[in-house]
Amino acid sequence: MATIKELSRKPELLTGGHRLCAGCGASIAVRQVLLGANDQVIAGSATGCLEVSTTPYPFSAWKIPFIHNAFENSAATMSGVEAAYQALVRRGKIEKKMKFVAFGGDGGTYDIGLQSLSGAMERGHNMVYVCYDNGAYMNTGIQRSGSTPFGAATTTSPAGKVRPGKPQQRKDLTQIMAAHDIPYVAQASISHWKDLVKKAEKAFSVEGPAFLNVMAPCPRGWRTPNEMTIEISKISVQTGFWPLYEVEDGEWKLNFKPKELKPITDFLKPQGRFRHLFKPGNEHLLEIAQAEIDKNWSRLKKRCGVE
C-alpha cells in the first residue's frame, strides 16, 4: 500500500465544495475508498445524501464518470455499466483498464437495495460495492433502517413513553454479503484510514465482486458534534460495535483485536439518539445492548479463529 505521503499526492476524485454537512462521514468514506483505486474508476451512487449533495445540477463534485439512477438500484445500475465495459472491450471499442464502484447508504443497501446488491454480487460482476453506513435514512430526516442500532431514537422509531427507540437489533449485512461467497468482503471504519484504504485497494484488485461496509457517522442523526465524527467512529471499533474484519476467498480475518472491548456505553453515551437509554429505569436496555455486542463479538472471533 502507498504511504500517506504518496496518498496525499493522489488527485482528489471527489472534489471539495460539495454540499455534504460538516463532519459528514460519507464523503470521508468515499475519498478513502477512491484512494485505494489505481486505475480509472467509474462511480455510481444510490439516491441519498451523497448523491444529492455531490450533484446539484448544474454542478458535480465528481471528477470521474458518475451515474446516479435511483434509490434501490445502485448495484444493478453499476452491473450494467460493468457489463457494457466487458462488451465494448471485447469488441475492441475500449482499451483502457477501468474499475467500477457503486456507493449506497445503509437505507439503500441493507433495506431497499438488498435484492439489487445480492443479484449483482451473485452474477459475479467485476465491481466494488461500498455501503457507507450511518445507521438510518439520514437524507430524508433520520428514519430507522435495518442498520439502525437497538434503542436508537429516530424519527420513525422515536423514544416515547412506552417505546424506547428502535426495538429491534440491527441486521448484519457484512455477514450476509460474506455468505454470497464473493472474492472479497470487508468491514472498515473511516477512523482507521490505513485499514480502509488497504481494504479498498484489495477490493479493487480482486477479479469479481467485492463488498465494503464502512462506518460513516452522521452528526445530524447521531446528535454528535461535527468534530467528533472520527472519534466516535474509532469508539465504534473499540467497543466492538463495528469490528474491523475481512473475508478473503472465504478466509475470515479480524483486523483489530483489542485485549478487552470498551463498554458499549462509551459508544452510546456521546450520542443524543441514545440519551433516553441513560435515564433511570432503562438500565436493562443498556444491558441488552451490551449483551448483543458480546454475543456478536464472540461469534466473530470464533469465525476468525481468534481466542
Binding site: 450533484t55 465528481w62 435511483a70 438500484n73 444493478a76 455499466v81 462488451a87 469488441r91 439489487s116 443479484g119
Partner: protein
C-alpha cells in the same frame, strides 16, 4: 408487397422468435432481461444465441425487471447499445426506471409483449401494461403481426439511437396472439440489418471519454427540473419526423411500407373503427364482409401511439361521420380507454368533428371475434342515421353481465 433488390427469406416462426431473431441480427452490446410470460420465449431464444456464440452480447440475467431496466440504464449510459424485453407485471416493476431512462435520453429498445396487469393475475393479452406507461417519455410502436413485430424491432433501434431523438422505444405486440402463434413472414439478411442499424457511438457516455467525465442523473431542483422535462417534450414531439424517416428508409430496404397508422377502406367510409395490434386482422375481415352488404365502414390501425400523431389522426378521421375507438385497456374512472380519450381530444378543435364512441374490449385475453366489431359498426351506423345519440359512457364489449 413491393419488390426490392434485397434478398429476404420467408420463415415460419412465432412473433417472439421473430423478435429474438431481430435481436440476434442487431447483436446488441448488452441485454439485461428477466423472464415473464408471455415474453419469456424472447429471452430464452436469445439465450440460445448467446450460448451458441451466434452473438457476442453481454447478457445479464438479472434478478428482477427493476434490475433489468436499472442495468439497461447503466449499460446505455456507459455507451453500449442496449435491448431488453418484458410484459405486464415486469413492466409494472420497471415503472420507476422507465421515466429515468427517457429523462437520461437513453436509446434503450424494449420489446413489450402486451399482457393484462394484475389483478386478478392473468397471463393473456390486453394493453393495460404499456398503456399504463404511456406518459413515461418512451416512444410506443404497436405491431399487428409477427412481421410487424420483427420489422418494428429493427426500426425501433434506429429511431431510438437517432441523434435528434435519443429516447427509449417500446415495441409492442400482442401476448400469445402474436407472440406464440406461428406466422409466415419475411426476414432480412443479417448483413442488411447490420448495415441498416449501423454503428452506435453516443455523444456522451461514462466509458468512451473518462478524461472528460460526465455525471449522469444529477439532482435537479425547481430551478432546473422543468427545463429538462421541456427538453423531453421537445424531443418526443420532434421524434415523429424521425420515426417516419426511419420507416421510409426501412421500406426502401424491405419493401414493407408502414406509417404512423394504417388506413383500411377509409377513403369513402361513413363510419370508422380505430384499433391497435392484432385485432386489426379481425377488423379487416369484418369490414370486408360488411362492405359486401353495403355498409360503408373503414378502419384506422394505429402503429405509433407515442409520439401521438394527433394532427394526422384528425385529418384522417375528420372525413368520416362517426368513429368508434376500440381500446384493449381501460382507464378506470376516465371517459374510456386511453386511445379513445386521446383521439377524441385530437379532434376537438378540428373543423370536421365526427361523432365518437369509446369501446373497451378483450381485457385479460377475452376473445374478440367479428361479432364484437359488427356491434361497434352497427352502433355507429345508428348514430349516423340519427337513430341514436352518441353514447357518453364507454361500452364494455364482450363482458358477461
Amino acid at each position: 408487397m413491393a419488390k426490392t433488390a434485397t434478398k429476404q427469406k420467408t420463415v415460419a416462426m412465432t412473433g417472439n422468435a421473430g423478435c429474438a431473431l431481430a435481436m440476434k441480427q442487431i447483436n446488441p452490446d448488452v441485454v439485461a432481461a428477466y423472464p415473464i410470460t408471455p415474453q419469456t420465449t424472447i429471452v430464452e431464444e436469445f439465450a440460445n444465441y448467446v450460448a451458441d456464440g451466434v452473438v457476442d452480447t453481454e447478457y445479464i440475467n438479472v434478478e428482477s425487471e427493476h434490475s433489468a431496466m436499472s442495468a439497461c440504464i447503466g449499460a446505455s449510459a456507459a455507451g453500449a447499445r442496449v435491448m431488453t424485453s418484458t410484459s405486464s407485471q415486469g413492466l409494472a416493476l420497471m415503472w420507476e426506471e422507465l421515466s429515468i431512462a427517457s429523462a437520461l435520453r437513453l436509446p434503450i429498445v424494449m420489446q413489450t409483449v402486451n399482457r393484462a396487469l394484475s389483478g386478478p393475475i392473468n397471463i393473456h393479452c390486453d394493453h393495460s401494461d404499456s398503456m399504463g406507461a404511456r406518459d413515461m417519455g418512451w416512444i410506443h410502436l404497436f405491431a399487428e403481426t409477427a412481421q410487424e413485430a420483427y420489422d418494428n424491432t429493427i426500426m425501433a433501434l434506429k429511431i431510438a439511437e437517432h441523434k435528434d431523438v435519443r429516447l427509449p422505444v417500446m415495441s409492442m405486440h400482442d401476448g400469445f396472439i402474436t407472440s406464440h402463434a406461428i406466422d409466415r413472414f419475411e426476414v432480412l439478411d443479417d448483413a442488411d440489418v447490420k448495415k441498416f442499424v449501423g454503428d452506435y457511438m453516443p455523444k456522451y457516455s461514462l466509458l468512451y471519454n473518462p478524461n472528460e467525465p460526465v455525471t449522469f442523473g444529477p439532482f435537479a431542483m425547481p430551478a432546473f427540473y422543468y427545463e429538462q422535462r421541456k427538453q423531453l417534450r421537445v424531443a418526443i414531439d420532434g421524434s415523429k419526423e424521425i420515426v417516419m424517416k426511419v420507416t421510409d428508409d426501412f421500406a426502401k430496404l424491405s419493401g414493407r411500407q408502414y406509417g404512423l397508422f394504417e388506413e383500411y377502406r377509409l377513403d369513402d367510409a361513413d363510419v370508422a373503427i380505430v384499433v391497435l395490434g392484432s385485432t386489426a386482422g379481425t377488423a379487416r375481415y369484418t369490414i370486408d364482409a360488411m362492405r359486401a352488404q353495403g355498409v360503408k365502414v373503414g378502419m384506422l390501425k394505429l402503429r405509433v401511439f407515442r409520439p401521438f400523431p394527433a394532427a394526422e389522426l384528425a385529418e384522417a378521421l375528420g372525413k368520416v361521420k362517426a368513429v368508434g375507438v376500440m381500446d384493449r385497456s381501460d382507464s378506470a374512472g376516465s371517459l374510456g380507454g386511453p386511445v379513445y380519450t386521446e383521439i377524441k381530444a385530437a379532434l376537438y378543435n378540428s373543423k370536421q368533428r365526427p361523432a365518437m364512441q369509446g369501446y373497451v374490449y378483450g381485457l385479460g385475453g377475452r376473445d374478440t371475434g367479428p361479432d364484437q366489431i359488427e356491434t361497434v359498426v352497427n352502433d355507429l351506423v345508428k348514430v349516423v342515421k340519427g337513430e341514436e345519440s352518441p353514447r357518453e359512457a364507454v361500452t364494455l364489449l364482450g363482458v358477461k353481465e
